[in-house]
């Protein structure tokens, strides 16, 4: 064996250090315990350490980092929502995303693509106009495109969708982007770990201890931890956690499925969404078409994916791109989505002192990763809801003050 290769094998310190420290023991107490090491949990840990100097924090994850919905979404980032609350919140997230690679010193492959939401009916056109006006009011680049303009930039798309659902126009959102989703979790994890946060994988939370109305600790399968503040960042498992603190919520779990095709030569440089056809698609940097549809018809606590989904989605894809007929689907999967009645998240303080929720992320969680982490960190540090997330408080349901976010993806309206 050449000596220079052998030298590498014998070196103790490998040139690339591991991303995170792997702490062996749980401490007996922490200032904050974060349940769930997905993008949201790790972002929350990162901003707690970086912006608020709170580093005695444990992130507990029953599986592995980013193994839940962080690694299962279709990686779309955008802010062209419908309600002022949603638009302001997601806009801040897009801004954070744009600088995030530099902030985390990790290439997130953040790629601004432009985002078309196609309208196939007069009522859809009306909603697109409405969204464009709300967006423009908040200084977000969104505009209504006519059919002819779309046909010019997407010459390979069947504008009549097989004759059944002709495209009348679209909402065009220039900042729409895709990013490498695992890297977002890893980057936040490394940033948090470097600042002293402990990330404990394969550690399951079995219960939350409450005395009076105050959180006092967490029971895990590796022992008991004392702490006064616990935040739940467990997309898809939220009801199991809220049951531990006897909190009722409107969150119901539905699978959201997605799939990718075999790699193709690059042809699609924008993100295309059709609410009427229940399809969204972008082409990854590897050339795969990343596709998703709407949530399953009924609640289910499982990540199984179905043939029905692929069959239905492929049929709709052929409406838009008839030339894809011979292309194979190579992978399909599902994530469990926390669905809420108004398609908005549930965030912030709760009636239980020291218990914070970062939940209800339905089909809109990945794009909110940076801003949810930042606002939740503020909320936990100050024990007061951040201004941007006040509209998403849990008590809005009891106050009949819902958000009504009809700009959410993959849900029927």
């Amino acid at each position: 064996m050449p000596f220079r290769l052998l030298k590498q094998a014998l070196r103790k310190n490998k040139p690339d250090p591991r991303f995170f420290k792997t702490p062996t023991e749980l401490q007996s107490s922490y200032d904050v315990v974060i349940i769930g090491a997905g993008g949201h949990g790790l972002a929350c840990a990162y901003y707690l350490a970086r912006n608020h100097g709170i580093t005695n924090v444990a992130v507990l994850e029953q599986g592995y980092i980013g193994g839940g919905n962080t690694g299962r979404n279709t990686t779309i980032v955008r802010s062209n929502y419908l309600t002022p609350e949603g638009v302001k919140f997601y806009d801040e997230s897009v801004r954070l995303f744009q600088d995030l690679s530099a902030d985390l010193d990790l290439n997130l492959f953040y790629s601004t693509r432009g985002h078309f939401t196609l309208a196939h009916s007069d009522s859809a056109m009306r909603t697109m106009r409405w969204r464009a006006e709300v967006n423009k009011h908040y200084d977000i680049e969104s505009e209504l495109w006519e059919r002819d303009e779309i046909a010019r930039v997407l010459p390979f798309m069947d504008m009549d969708c097989g004759g059944q659902h002709p495209v009348l126009g679209a909402l065009y959102h220039a900042p729409g982007a895709v990013a490498r989703h695992d890297a977002v979790a890893w980057g936040y994890g490394r940033g948090a770990s470097d600042r002293g946060v402990e990330i404990h994988q394969k550690t399951k939370v079995n219960g939350i201890r409450i005395i009076g109305n105050q959180v006092e600790g967490v029971d895990t399968d590796r022992g008991v931890i004392a702490c006064k503040k616990v935040v739940s960042c467990v997309a898809g498992s939220t009801p199991r956690i809220t049951d531990m603190v006897r909190l009722r919520t409107p969150i119901d779990i539905r699978p959201l499925q997605a799939c990718v095709s075999e790699p193709l030569k690059p042809f699609l440089d924008t993100i295309i969404v059709s609410g009427s056809l229940h399809v969204y698609v972008s082409q990854s940097s590897r050339g795969e078409l990343v596709m998703g549809a709407s949530v399953d018809r009924a609640p289910l606590h499982s990540t199984r994916s179905t043939f029905d989904f692929v069959e239905d989605l492929s049929d709709k894809m052929l409406d838009l791109f008839p030339f894809l007929g011979g292309v194979k689907i190579v992978r399909q999967w599902a994530g469990m989505a926390d669905m809420t009645p108004d398609f908005a998240p549930i965030m912030g303080t709760t009636p239980v002192n020291g218990f914070y929720l970062d939940a209800g992320w339905g089909t809109w969680g990945f794009k909110a990763t940076p801003i949810s982490g930042k606002t939740m960190a503020y909320t936990i540090a100050n024990d007061d809801d951040h201004e941007l997330i006040k509209p998403f408080r849990l008590s809005r349901f009891a106050e009949y003050d819902l958000v009504g976010e009809k700009g959410a993806a993959s849900v029927g309206h």
Binding site: R240, P250, D252, R297, S302, R304, F307, D308, F397, A398
Partner: protein
Amino acid sequence: MKLLNCPHIGLRPVSEFSYGGEVTTEPDPIVSDDKDWADYVFNVNGEPGIRREWWHHGPSGIWFILERDTRTDTVVQILDSKDAVGG
């Protein structure tokens, strides 16, 4: 394609059916306060397990009740709506 056994016309593709929410008991609207009413309208039992749900068969317009395991998506029992709610 997955099939569902409609209590009235037998096995049909599941795409003909729609989910209508968990079976719950409506509180008395005269005596219940806003908080209880909001709890009834919005909150759900999101825990995984067997639960009773309303399902609707589109082509025939019939509502019925399913007992379904929300961990495995398997039907435990199909009930006629009048058997289940005593109507």
